[in-house]
């Protein structure tokens, strides 16, 4: 699965479909960093660890 798809799946689960759709506009290169940033800001470092192995 591409990083974008994985990111989208995570974002849908944590924030809902609206934030999931946001990933569509991101690139394969920057999606992990961008999503991780949002998750750690709102939900904390612990939850953001999910991106570490992507």
């Amino acid at each position: 699965m591409a990083k974008k798809e994985k990111c989208k799946e995570i974002m849908v689960k944590l924030f809902g479909p609206a934030t999931g759709n946001l990933v569509d506009s991101m690139s394969e290169d920057d999606c992990v960093a961008k999503c991780k940033d949002k998750v750690s800001k709102f939900l904390g470092e612990e939850k953001a660890k999910v991106f570490d192995n992507l």
């Binding site: 689960k13 924030f15 479909p17 609206a18 999931g20 949002k38 800001k41 939900l43």
Partner: protein
């Protein structure tokens, strides 16, 4: 967990949504802010800062020096020239556009901010609208394409007033990682997927077709007293208000205050309305029949 900056601004408002939200319980509003690291940058009734200091803060937010994570707006937005000048003579609309463009999450609380509410009722001299809706129509002050930093449209949490749980829990969704799913009017489905009718203590009378003909009579308020509970989306009777009651529990017909079309679409408040969905009457007769048969068979 990093601190989230919350800024709360009012337009054409009665202050009722603020008054409602600060009555939150478990946790109370002040504990909520502290426990979940919500930094209330500005609130019209609670903030110590005012005048020049408040102005400086707003400027910092707009220049990007201070981040706006959550932007809450309460009250309708007057669009007509000359009616909506406030805070430094700038129009409410401009103010709202500026803050919404910076926000990660934008939340409209109360029916006025969501859909226009009473200020937007005819003759609507001020040209009032909601943040992203004008009654049932998409658009409003921000336009139908507006999207916040987290990819959401304006999250609509209507009600006249709104319920503290709806607001606090929606914010908490963004703290605890629970997805927020919206319906066609951009309301969180969790609360507005229900109807006021569900959980009403008078449901049994409805089922039996026993209608109160006037106030304080025993019976369902739907027929003669025009209760709008069956067609209004909100979980008032499941959640209850102030921990103890609801409009219908206290004998007062629902006036549909959470509906996008409120108030016009709900008039007359206390009379039988002709636009009752036929499905409801069918449902009543159906239930009556089921009950009758059940009794016969017993």
């Amino acid at each position: 967990m990093q601190e989230l900056n919350l800024i709360w601004i009012q337009g054409e408002t009665c202050d009722g949504d603020s008054m409602s939200v600060i009555d939150a319980t478990n946790p109370d509003f002040l504990t909520f802010l502290e426990r979940y690291k919500i930094n209330l940058l500005y609130h019209p009734t609670l903030s110590p800062i005012y005048g020049d200091e408040a102005t400086k803060l707003f400027n910092k937010c707009l220049s990007g020096k201070t981040q706006v994570d959550i932007f809450i707006f309460e009250g309708a937005i007057p669009m007509n020239e000359g009616y909506g000048d406030f805070m430094g003579g700038k129009s409410v609309r401009k103010f709202v556009e500026n803050f919404a463009s910076k926000a990660q999450v934008t939340i409209a609380i109360g029916t006025c901010a969501c859909f226009g509410g009473i200020p937007a009722a005819e003759p609507n001299e001020s040209g009032s609208v909601g943040l992203q809706f004008s009654k049932r129509e998409k658009g409003g002050a921000l336009g139908k394409d507006y999207m916040s930093g987290l990819g959401f449209p304006v999250i609509n949490i209507p009600g006249c007033p709104t319920h503290p749980d709806w607001v606090i829990n929606t914010i908490l969704s963004f703290r605890l990682g629970k997805p927020v799913v919206l319906d066609e009017f951009n309301r969180p489905k969790d609360y507005f997927g229900e109807t006021v009718h569900r959980g009403c203590k008078l449901c049994e009378y409805h089922e039996r077709g026993l209608w109160a003909k006037d106030f304080t009579e025993v019976g369902c308020l739907a027929s003669s007293l025009g209760c709008k509970g069956r067609t209004t989306n909100a979980d008032c009777n499941i959640r209850l208000w102030n921990g103890v009651s609801s409009c219908t529990r206290s004998g007062s017909p629902c006036i549909g205050c959470c509906d996008p079309g409120f108030p016009e679409s709900m008039l007359p408040f206390n009379k039988e309305t002709l636009n009752l969905p036929p499905s409801v009457l069918e449902e009543v007769n159906e239930r009556k029949q089921i009950l009758a048969e059940d009794i016969k068979n017993a």
